[in-house]
Amino acid sequence: MGQVLVLGLISGGIYALFALGVVMVHRGTGVLTFANGEVGTAGLFLAALLVDGWTIPVPFIDNPTLPALPWALGALAAVAFAALLGCLFEVLVVRRMGVSDPVAVAVATVGLALFLLASELQIFGESPKELAAPVTGGPTIFGVIVTPTQIAGLLLAIALGFGLQAVLRRTDFGLGILAAAQDPAAVRLVGVPLSRISLTIWGAGAALAAIAALLVEPTVGILYPGYASELYVVGLAAAVIGGLNSLPGAVVGGCVLGIAQSAATRYLSDLHLPGLHFVVVLVVLLVVMLGRQLLPELIKRMDTAPSRAAEVSA
């Protein structure tokens, strides 16, 4: 039981980080992005190159080789690169689409996901690459060794989920971001540049995805094209479960899915169902979404039924 909980929270923290990025972009711009998983993977690849000592292919001269960088610098570059990708996408695609419907922008993010996935396949091939963990070891809780990156992931998710709002309130621009989430039109009327807010949000969402990818990677130790997308999909589901607009909700959603997965792995292993992880996600997602849609209706029906009856008798 304790083991299920610990394992669930470990993966739940990562899902929560991805979900926080989803919620941030959705609240700020009304769009769901399907690309940030792959943006995170792209960042990981850059980190792996830098930590390995990157031989940069430059035509006509001897390919220069960078010295192998420490993990922290590689990670920093990964986050910066991801943020850059997010910003470029905002400037080159989202901004040009003008006031189009959020579904069209979502489809454009599908294009970005596929673009990055195909580029990674083209450059690195399908075989996994390695990126060594920055630190190893860690405490054992309920018989599970919990690594520092896993703890960092969960703590960061909780800190962002419950503290980001407060941090944003400290600056004018952060306040603008919060206000834009409430009413984008009115924000422009008090003189806050909405385009800069949108740029910041896309960049930050992408950076967050890279951070999540960096924190989960040492658990497995390898990366391959499409790697973080598989986790990001769960993050999307977690964000939806949490209500899509709530940062704490995203954290809760991530943890719920993580625990549901580890419980299913523990208690349903007799089914021998491949990909049980994803079946669990789909089932929880549907139950929560339909439940949320149907419950108010049921309640309303129960409320109005007696009053209608009373009317007839009156």
Binding site: R169, D172, L175, G176, L178, A179, Q182, D183, A185, A186, V187, R188, L189, V190, G191, V192, P193, L194
Partner: protein
Amino acid sequence: MTTPLLEVRDITAGFGATTVLHGVSFDVPQGSIAGIFGLNGAGKSVTMKVLGGSVPARSGSVHFRGQDITKLSPEKRVAMGMGHVPQGRQVFPGLTVEENLRLGAYTLRRKDKKRYGPALNGVFDRFPILAQRRGQLAGTMSGGQQASLAVGRALINEPDLILVDEPSAGLSPVATLELDEVLQAVAHTGVTMVLVEQNIAFGLSLVDTAHLMQTGTVVHSGPVGELDDQTLATHLGIGRVLQAAAGSALAARQAPPVKKGSRARRPA
């Protein structure tokens, strides 16, 4: 002759296949309060959106302080000294009163952080209720208090011109009265104002000049004092039967209930 603070020339605008404004023109001199009146669908709110920059003009021009601002973004216009009290008083419900005001002073704080403190105190002096409730979430306040906040949020940026879009919509009589006091107070600061109001009798009690709109054009412009019931009825398109009613709305204007003090500040 000095150039007016705001010059609107022959604006056309619309959405998709619909053209809502067919050539709107008027001037707003420095220090005056202009009212735009008309029935639903006359194009009042679209005119305001064109002035604010959130709906593009298809042709025509808007000059503010002598500069052509027709193609400027809303935020640039705000930085130039335009303030807004948007339709429905849109305050940010999830932010506190003070945060709303701080955001209102966004461009002021970019220019000079030191001016923010006095400006905030100025708003608090004018609206003591906001000082009392500075930590309260704006969404939990009453309609009248939200109106004060929306006006305060516009004033704190020290604008030269305030665009007020249907402030009384959806307000109870008590709140309308509060709003009236707020706007009267603002009028006496000497700031220039453009007001759109559905409640024509209420609007007429506030403004100096009335611009009457019908189906996307300004059909009559002139000082409120020179309006008569027939002009009002004809140009609003409300038909002869409502003419008498228009007269009573004007009568209310001629004996303003709470208007005090002179407007000597206005250039003669």
